[in-house]
Amino acid sequence: MSDTLIEISDLKVCFGDNVAVDGIDLRIKRGETFVLLGESGCGKSITALTMMRLLPNAARVKSGQVLLDGEDLLRLSEKRMRQIRGGKIGMIFQEPQTSLNPVMKIGDQIAESLIWHNKLNGNSSRAAVIKLLEDVGITDPERRYDEYPHQFSGGMKQRVMIAMALAGEPELLIADEPTTALDVTIQAQVLELLQTLQREHNMAILFITHDLGVASKMADHVGVMYAGKIVEKAPRDQFFRAPAHPYSRTLFDALPSRLKRQQEEQKKNRSASNGVLMEVKNLDIHFPIRSGFFKRVTGYVKAVNNISLTLEKGKTIAMVGESGSGKTTFGKGVLQLVKPTNGSVIFEGEDLTRLTPAQLRKHRSDIQIIFQDPYSSMNPRMIVGDIIEEGMIAQGIGKTRQERIRRVEELLVQVGLEKTHRMRYPHEFSGGQRQRICIARALAVDPKLIICDEPTSALDVSVQSQILKLLKDLQDRLDLTYLFITHNIGVVDYIAHKVAVMYRGEIVEYGDVDQVLYHPQHPYTRELLSAVPRIETSA
């Protein structure tokens, strides 16, 4: 047996006339982890699917070969290929929620692939599945065998997916962004698990990710993909010490971090504190749980529990927390899109929670929001100009249509787009450009506070850095205040002045960035920070 497990040479995959993968070569040795790094649309997932021969119908392999132990996978019969899939190569996907059949027991789903590949029968397969569940760190596997996917959390589901992939004892595990949908603390656990399993089973892993931090934690070798080509291949240490290709370097430069912020801030003086803009006092948002015949309220989900917070003018407060911690609900509560149960939101001396809808409408222009998903945040049937104009009409800004159009054009230029973009539809823009339009829309009504709800987490790193920079510039120019909701610690470090860490609807720690990020007090904050994959240059 040779040292090389799988070797791809000169692989070209096309969708019609579009080249998705443009002649890549790579080699993975037994027991090592090869990380394929790249931004969305660069062809990394297509490469993985080609190896599994699971390409969508529209795609065609133009040339090249994929040798697994000297056998060309692209020329095998479908029957033989079925033995390879799950047998020699296992695969786990990004979305554990949709990869499991919701009406089948977890154990039976794993057993399916065991029975197929190892020719096991009922009883022995149950024992084998329980062993697997134990291996992937699921407690009480006997009981959990008979449970259904909805009874598992996201991280647990991903563990189940890993167990399924391991069932056929593969020599190569393809992991396509396996932790992107997970929280950082869960991500750290899953990555840890993958490394342990790799050692135990001596598997090779092809790990696909866009996250440099994750890559740095997992990789033995790194390949950087850009526009269908592998532009750089290097051992881990060499790559993270000195990336050779210019594109790799831009990836590093795009990472938001303290260092970058300090470089930028040397040029200008940080404005001193200039008064309180908004005060949130003892805010509770509870959602009633209704059940029974007359929909009686049987309990409450305490999404936001007794939060007090002071926002200073011209500053950025970051709300950090994992999914389900109530950050977004808090943002909507401040905005009065969700009615708070208790507490007050005092904005420039007026309590927003006590206003009538008509009075509130007048204050709407002061607080605006930017959403996470740039695709669903604009009505696809309206042109950009009308989208931006909508708020101005509702708030009575700009007397005539000409005046408003002029303002729309100004705003577009302000966020780095062109005046002519006014006449286009949202689908003609990329994710980053859409987010710029959303910013322009929020700015249209001259807000004092903007709630940024994970505005960059759906974007690639290089685009993310541009948007963050734009937000910062706008803050300096227009004296805006941001309530920045995010789970990305790097972003916090780059943009925030103050940080509030949320955990299960409560703020567990609050303070200046330096203090919270570098001298965390609360155990949860410490756990959160330690889970963040950091780029370490020495192994």
């Binding site: 409408r361 604009m378 696809p380 509702a394 829309r441």
Partner: protein, 468 residues
């Protein structure tokens, strides 16, 4: 003297609304895109040509007037109380060519034996010659087939001239539109290289036009679908039924849409007690058997009309009112499905970010519904309207068959099928009424179904990924 019946008014209102909609769609690129897929689909365009022919007949049949009775001695104009349509005028020969009773398609003799008095005074029992069908022939047995063939050939010559001119005119328009020379356009159309499948359109239009001209020509000399019990031309009845079918299929939608859209969107958008109330309404309505409700409503109307006979001056006005009422009651019983779909879609949409953003701007609820929700559920409305059409045409046939449909005096396919019940039971069988109703209805429903399939595919967001 023109007269506008209730259904006529509503049909033309609907026509204006559709024209406005088309005008609106043409101005918006994102609305035009799915329609372009429909325009480029050969099956859809072939069906559209057929539908258009039905539509033209239906519309001509909706222009009603009181015909003028010739001259009176003092020169004053006098109008008949009868109501006729423009279409009746065009095919007046069909209406006037009444026989005594049944006759088979293209027959020259009656279908039943009768006692005939010969010239010499003897009485024999035989099949008498028809008054109009094949009356120009001296010896139908030998002359009929050559006569029909020659008339078909004659019509074909006329057809080829008209059709050639029509095709050339259209191609000339196309060549202007795509800015290419005339011969180039011809070859592009002939090889099927145009974006819109003109070749298919011309083929369908050509075949339909040929059928129309041949039928028109032959109908002057023969009863091409035979005659019914009282000697009326079945071909004429089948064509008059087109209007009834189209009205049931379209006006019902007009009645249903306001209910469905208003209730569906408000239930989904406002939630809470409004949602509960609307849900209770439609679940209650859904649990009453539709046929029962329709029967009750129609019987009520009949009682009303019997008690207020003075309000309904003519037979046509009576049957028109009953048709309208049938549309309304069908609409009332059939809005629940669309309403439920719209409620679900609106509930999904109201959580979408752009609607939250609009709320954050303080945009009013009504504006949000009109600007953000309605346009984004319009594709569902459109798909269900087009899909419902053929179902409603068939529903009319079923309801008339059990006598709770349109007025028995009104021409409709359902009534034709209903009367065919007796005809099928007699011996020898009279099959042509049923066959004519079946053919006309089948072609309309098939064309509508094929067309709506394409429309659904073009508007379904799940399938939209394929061509982008």
């Amino acid at each position: 003297m023109p007269i506008v019946l209730w259904t006529d008014a509503l049909v033309f209102l609907l026509l204006i609304m559709v024209s406005l909609f088309v005008w609106h769609v043409r101005r918006h690129e994102h609305l035009r895109r799915p329609w372009r897929i429909v325009l480029c689909s050969p099956i859809a365009m072939a069906s559209a040509v057929i539908l258009l022919i039905y539509l033209i007949i239906g519309l001509l049949d909706s222009l009603h007037f009181h015909p003028q009775i010739e001259d009176l001695n003092n020169g004053e104009k006098q109008y008949s109380t009868q109501i006729k349509s423009v279409f009746d005028m065009l095919v007046s020969h069909l209406q006037e060519h009444d026989e005594k009773t049944y006759s088979a398609p293209f027959a020259a003799w009656q279908y039943n034996k009768e006692t005939i008095e010969l010239e010499d005074g003897t009485m024999i029992r035989d099949y008498p010659r028809l008054r109009f069908g094949g009356a120009h022939l001296r010896d139908p047995d030998t002359e009929k087939i050559p006569d029909i063939v020659s008339k078909v050939l004659h019509s074909t010559v006329i057809w080829s001239v008209i059709f050639f001119l029509f095709v050339m005119l259209v191609i000339w328009r196309i060549s202007r539109r795509i800015q290419r020379s005339f011969p180039e356009s011809i070859s592009a159309v002939a090889r099927g290289k145009t974006e819109i499948p003109w070749l298919v359109i011309f083929l369908t239009a050509g075949i339909s036009l040929w059928l129309v001209i041949v039928a028109w020509n032959l109908s002057h000399y023969y009863h091409i679908f035979g005659t019914d019990k009282v000697g009326q031309d079945v071909f004429y009845q089948a064509m008059k039924s087109i209007r009834t079918g189209l009205i049931i299929g379209t006006l019902t939608t007009l009645v249903m849409l306001p209910f469905a859209i208003l209730m569906g969107i408000s239930a989904g958008y406002f939630r809470g007690w409004i949602d509960d109330a609307i849900q209770y309404i439609y679940t209650t309505l859904n649990s009453i058997p539709g046929v029962l409700l329709i029967a009750a409503a129609i019987l009520m109307l009949q009682v009303y009309m019997a008690n207020h006979a003075d309000q309904f001056t003519s037979l046509a006005a009576r049957s028109d009112m009953r048709l309208l009422f049938l549309c309304i009651i069908l609409g009332v019983t059939s809005w629940t499905g669309l309403c439920r779909m719209l409620r679900g879609e609106t509930m999904k949409l109201r959580e979408v970010d752009y609607i939250q953003a609009a709320q954050a701007f303080g945009v009013g609820n009504f504006t949000i519904i009109m600007r953000h929700i309605l346009p984004n559920v319009m594709h569902i409305v459109l798909i269900s309207v087009v899909l419902d059409f053929s179902g409603l045409v068939l529903a009319e046939a079923v309801l008339s068959y059990i006598n709770i449909g349109v007025d028995p005096s009104m021409n409709s396919w359902g009534n034709m099928i209903n009367s065919a019940r007796m005809e099928m039971a007699r011996d020898p069988v009279v099959w042509w009424s049923l066959a004519a109703a079946f053919v006309f209805m089948f072609v309309l429903v098939l064309a509508a179904n094929l067309f709506s399939d394409t429309v659904r595919d073009a508007f379904d967001p799940r399938l939209r990924g394929r061509e982008e």
